[in-house]
Point group: C3
Chain length 170, copies 3
């Protein structure tokens, strides 16, 4: 099979899957999301029933996720220092939740080790698009972290706010 005919076959497959996605769900997703299933991906990593996870989510180490949680595209779930996420959360597109960082590793030119601390996200938590959660943070049940936030301290249950850094609303 020539490279050109192999490419043609692959593009025919992709176009067929894309047309079906558009007809059934009125949406466009990336080629990797056409080739995989968001609920099957979540099950394969032991996440709870009803949880879905886009194909390009980067999952590092041990991450526990509850039921009915939505995990969007371009998300990073870093369990290298431990990460737990509850039920019915919205982990919006572009959100990154960490349990390590490499600040000292970089500024020591690779001498200092990577730092790690575990992170917890409760149940019913909304984390808005592109927000980043620092290692060692705890976010309580039913709280709302607005879009574009940098969460570098704990958020109490029912707390709401946003910002860089995150600020609780009164």
């Amino acid at each position: 099979m020539t490279t050109r005919s192999q490419l043609r076959l692959l593009q025919d497959l992709i176009n067929s899957l894309r047309a079906s996605m558009r007809t059934k769900f009125n949406r466009h997703v990336s080629i990797p999301d056409l080739l995989s299933d968001r609920w099957e991906t979540a099950r394969f990593y032991g996440f709870g029933e009803g949880t879905s996870c886009y194909n390009n989510v980067l999952i590092l180490g041990d991450v526990k996720v509850g039921r009915n949680t939505w995990i969007g595209p371009n998300v990073v779930l870093d369990g290298s220092g431990g990460l737990e996420i509850g039920d019915h959360c919205s982990i919006s597109a572009g959100v990154q939740i960490y349990s390590h960082h490499t600040v000292a590793w970089s500024t020591s030119r690779g001498e200092a080790p990577v730092e790690k601390r575990s992170t917890q996200i409760g149940n019913g938590v909304y984390i808005g698009p592109n927000s980043v959660v620092q290692m060692g943070t705890s976010i309580g049940d039913d709280s709302v972290v607005g879009a574009m936030s940098f969460v570098n301290r704990d958020v109490p249950s029912g707390g709401r706010g946003f910002g860089v850094p995150f600020r609780l609303q009164d």
Copy 2:
């Protein structure tokens, strides 16, 4: 065909496409962007002439986009509550434009419905990298939203600013 030989064939195809991309355009794009065409993707979704759209753009529901608009990688265009974007816009990499959110859905543990409100982006609008536009927002013609902004209120025509939340410059 064994898994190993299938993988080899696929990687040969990818390497061939990558070398061609580098020679012709001096750039590196993801494998899905090697397998698809940005202008064809835009046409398939009915976007205007000259508009281009990277492969991993997530398009939800009915989204209308005008002519000569550049839509970067890692973008979310959410038309579930209605979204229109004009001509000659720069929708920079990582931008997310919404017409729904799931704040009440999450904090009610799945009881409350998803909220929706339509969003409009005019002509000649620049939206900088990683910015997020909240549902129900209107951004006027020829305005500039700087990088890393959270737009949660209307931006007038010709307005310029940035920030979390977005603030107009004097």
Copy 3:
């Protein structure tokens, strides 16, 4: 070969690579990252020894990168106006480093040209997740740019800070 049997073959290959990634490295990566190697990608673009680069990094024009630098997923490295990055840097997931912008292009409805200015990143620099570096910026050795920052002015060697816009800590 029918479309269905072609899809089945491809999914079998992907599932096999995914299982191997999980067993060996306890992680989940996107399908394109299963099909490519982060170190080989960096070498192909002439980056230094020990540097790695996720598959969906968008590289535009001439970008020079030193040794032992980590380049995460969803990163944009824009060398269209010139970009150099040193050794032992952490270019975190979602970071976008520019040497051009299209503000005038958009607001002039395509009349004005794209603006370009070169950008330099030193050695031992940490740039946190989702941060954006504007064209024409210089970031000195061993400095730390926190997550969610918009860097629109120079950062001195050893400087630390974060924010939109970036603010140096005392």
